[in-house]
């Protein structure tokens, strides 16, 4: 008893001492990251340029790289709307002065481009470096990224054609970003500490306030918008998108007669016959279950001229020993016609 109490005490002391060093709780879990590993993965660049690699690239080099690696999706001038939304366009000399893209509030912009939105040049550098080009992300060296970004800045008329962008002058270029004052964090949708406590936003105060009125809440229910006719069938036939049993059905939006059943993978009629006849309980098409797979049967008998007749007889009578000790039961419930169909089907590959 006393020995037992002692060991409890020792354990308790040990537990207490480890608890004060949280890191030691999970002994043997994880290992130190090496400096080379951290360098390999820690490539993020922050708005204050923490993490920015040294390097430089000019507009000419950037144009060359852009045409080779970027233009197929983004267009030669970053203007393309074919694959992704455009990178360049919608900003003015005046926006560069004010730091607010006027088109965003005036409604003049047909479409927002990357440069009409982004406030921080670090974002563009970081993203090109980590994710571009589309099919070969992380293949660009820092100098390539500087060059491509220099070309884009030139396209957006933020820097001249002879410009060289580098880690030394990127903070100066930040001061010319057309929408650099275009962000606000004055909202209640940041799930952490508010701005006044070192975080972001107003501390979770919502921007709308509905009340849960229950009776006679308004004089009438006014419908402001309905689904346009052309959109009714734009997502395919809705009849196929709601389950075929239950309290409701999907509406047939094609105007055609309703399909009989949702199209399952169409099995061949003979496959259905094989399933119905119980063959598939023991034989797979391409695998042994209890008996051999149909593919094995086909392989064994394919060069035997009388295979069909012999197999029909075997399936009908049952047998044992050809494929192992598990017997095949007789299948006298099947008609000769069905038996022949099944055997022919198996010998031709069971498709």
């Amino acid at each position: 008893m006393s020995r037992f109490s002692k060991s409890i005490l020792v354990l308790a002391l040990f537990g207490a001492s480890t608890a004060t060093f949280a890191f030691d709780n999970y002994k043997g879990i994880g290992r130190p990251a090496t400096p080379a590993e951290i360098k390999a993965w820690d490539i993020d660049v922050r708005p204050d340029f923490k993490g920015l690699p040294k390097g430089s690239g000019n507009v000419d080099k950037g144009q060359e790289l852009f045409e080779e690696k970027c233009a197929s999706c983004h267009g030669t001038f970053g203007e393309s709307n074919e694959v992704f939304t455009p990178l360049i366009g919608g900003t003015t000399k005046d926006d560069i002065k004010t730091g607010r893209v006027k088109g965003l509030s005036s409604g003049e912009l047909p479409q927002r481009t990357t440069f009409t939105k982004v406030a921080t040049i670090s974002t563009v550098f970081d993203y090109i470096q980590r994710a571009m080009p589309w099919t070969a992300p992380k293949s660009l060296k820092p100098d390539d990224v500087y060059a491509i970004l220099a070309y884009m800045l030139n396209l957006a008329e933020i820097v001249p054609a002879d410009f060289t962008l580098s880690d030394q002058n990127i903070a100066e270029v930040q001061k010319l970003m057309p929408n650099r004052y275009g962000m606000t964090t004055d909202h209640g949708m940041w799930p952490g500490a508010p701005a006044k406590k070192g975080g972001i936003g107003n501390g979770g105060i919502p921007d709308v306030k509905n009340v849960a009125c229950m009776k006679n809440c308004k004089p009438e229910a006014k419908i402001g918008s309905t689904l346009p006719d052309y959109a009714r069938n734009a997502h395919g036939n809705l009849a196929e998108q709601t389950r075929s049993v239950g309290p409701v059905r999907g509406v047939n939006t094609t105007g055609d007669a309703p399909a009989a059943q949702p199209a399952a993978a169409a099995a061949s009629p003979t496959m259905e016959l094989a399933q119905k006849s119980g063959c598939m309980a023991c034989h797979g098409v391409n695998n042994k279950i209890v008996g051999p797979g149909f593919n094995e049967i086909q392989a064994r008998y394919k060069d035997q001229p009388d295979a069909e007749t012999r197999l029909v007889a075997k399936v009908k009578a049952g047998g044992q020993g050809v494929w192992g000790t598990v017997p095949m039961p007789p299948n006298s419930h099947l008609s000769d016609a069905d038996l022949t169909t099944l055997v022919k089907w198996i010998l031709s590959g069971a498709k």
């Binding site: 879990i29 994710a131 849960a212 809440c217 059943q261 309980a281």
Partner: protein
């Protein structure tokens, strides 16, 4: 109205609908042999199930079907089970024209067909930024480091083996894309709830609280008040998350989803779970956590996932998914079978906590009734609600309105647009309306 003759699974009421007008006249005239004639006709033509049905009963009962009279399939024909072939229409779908590249796109969850609160893993919505991979878990690594070396005493690397040795938690949470319902900011654009609300799913996630790993690395919580989460895919997606959420213990480094490993499309083998926050922050294929003292303004928080306001300013770092609900049965693109009783059913959720109440209106928001909440009610999880309804065949406007534990009431379109305009794309949590026409067809409308 639906023609009751074509209603599957139902007996036709006799005699009016069963008998032709001539036969009814015959009954009226006192002739009794009409029934015998009907039976003769029925037995002569096996392909006349309606006759047999009405005369004796339902052929589905009277004639034992194939599945009652033949041998069924053995075990393990499908070593990994699949839904019935009759459920083939219950699948994820894209919205045509929404995106032009499948690797940077969305597939929507078929909410109109789901029950309860858990999304089957194969139907979980997808959003990829640069395509998905099926990552070899033995080669996957999670690194934890600091923006400044002084923020982390011991930057570490963990294997999946390491992470799966640690004490896990399992929690049910919804995940909703910030752009869910974004197509509908200006006007009705899409026909069904799959496309209006289907960037939403809910799973049980299993994993390790991120705090345990940060503790293990010796993070300086006084200085490092933000984390950057980074994925291992080509896009190496990154998002800033507040340290307060990590410290609360609710942010999980998850490998499990509904009892099995995450699906590759959902981040196999490791993803971040950030309850209540929009899906883009739940970084998939999670490879690195950096702790830092400032937010990062990554592409998906400085070019995308920023909310344009009428002033021309963009709201940045909007992350919380505010309280929202939608009726899923009946919903747009569906057809009521008949007048009479229905269980109207839907889901509610809030990024700020638990759902406390859901009200339903059948007249477009003039009058409301409180729905039944079908438990369990969990923090930042989908919550199922139901309410009885007897449809009288007249036009109706169905709406649901959720309230969460902060007292926040889901807003109307009018209220949201008054503050945010119609061009913000993200965070549309307006009350959804479904119009039921006299024909029984349900369609998507907006009530102001």
């Amino acid at each position: 109205m639906v023609d009751s003759v074509n209603k599957p699974g139902r007996l036709r009421p006799a005699p009016e609908n069963f008998l032709s007008e001539v036969q009814i006249e015959a009954v009226g005239a006192g002739r009794r042999d009409f029934l015998r004639k009907s039976f003769l006709a029925a037995s002569a033509a096996m392909a006349a199930p309606l006759a047999a049905r009405a005369s004796e009963g339902d052929p589905n009962i009277l004639q034992n079907p194939e599945w009652t009279t033949t041998l069924g399939q053995p075990v393990a024909v499908r070593p990994y089970g699949l839904p019935s072939k009759y459920e083939a229409g219950v699948i994820r779908r894209e919205s045509p024209g929404l995106t032009r590249v499948g690797a940077a796109s969305v597939s929507f969850c078929p909410l109109q067909n789901l029950f309860g609160i858990i999304t089957p893993s194969g139907l979980h919505f997808e959003r990829h930024h640069q395509g998905w991979h099926d990552i070899d878990p033995s080669k996957h690594r999670l690194m934890i480091n600091g923006s400044d070396p002084e923020f982390v005493k011991r930057p570490k690397v963990y294997t999946m083996d390491d992470i799966m040795r640690l004490p896990p938690v399992s929690r049910i949470h919804f995940i909703e894309c910030g752009a869910n319902t974004g197509l509908e900011w200006g006007n009705v654009a899409v026909p069904t709830v799959q496309y209006t609300h289907g960037m939403l799913s809910c799973s049980e996630f299993t994993g390790v609280p991120l705090k345990a790993l940060l503790d293990d690395c010796g993070v300086d919580y006084k200085k490092a008040r933000f984390i950057l989460a980074e994925g291992a895919d080509g896009s190496s997606m990154t998002r800033t998350i507040p340290m307060e959420m990590v410290e609360s213990g609710e942010v999980i480094v998850a490998y499990g989803q509904n009892g099995e490993m995450l699906r590759p499309e959902n981040g196999y083998p490791l993803r971040l779970v950030v309850p209540g926050v929009q899906g883009v922050s739940w970084v998939k294929w999670l490879r690195r956590i950096e702790v830092g003292d400032k937010p990062y303004a990554t592409k998906d928080e400085a070019v995308h996932y920023i909310d344009l306001m009428p002033s021309g300013l963009h709201r940045q770092y909007t992350s919380v998914q505010e309280c929202k609900s939608v009726i899923t049965t009946p919903s747009g693109g569906q057809q009521l079978l008949d007048k009479g009783f229905y269980n109207v059913s839907g889901i509610a959720w809030s990024g700020r906590g638990k759902i406390t109440r859901v009200d339903v209106s059948f007249d477009g928001g003039i009058n409301w009734q409180t729905a039944r909440i079908e438990g369990p009610v969990q923090n930042k999880a989908l919550t199922r609600f139901n309410i009885n309804w007897v449809w009288d065949g007249k036009p109706a406007l169905l709406q649901s309105r959720a309230i969460d534990e902060t007292g926040y009431v889901q807003p109307t379109y009018g209220q949201l647009r008054a503050v945010r305009g119609t061009k913000s794309i993200y965070h549309n949590n307006a009350i959804q309306s479904w119009k039921v026409a006299e024909s029984g067809e349900v369609s998507n409308v907006q009530v102001l």
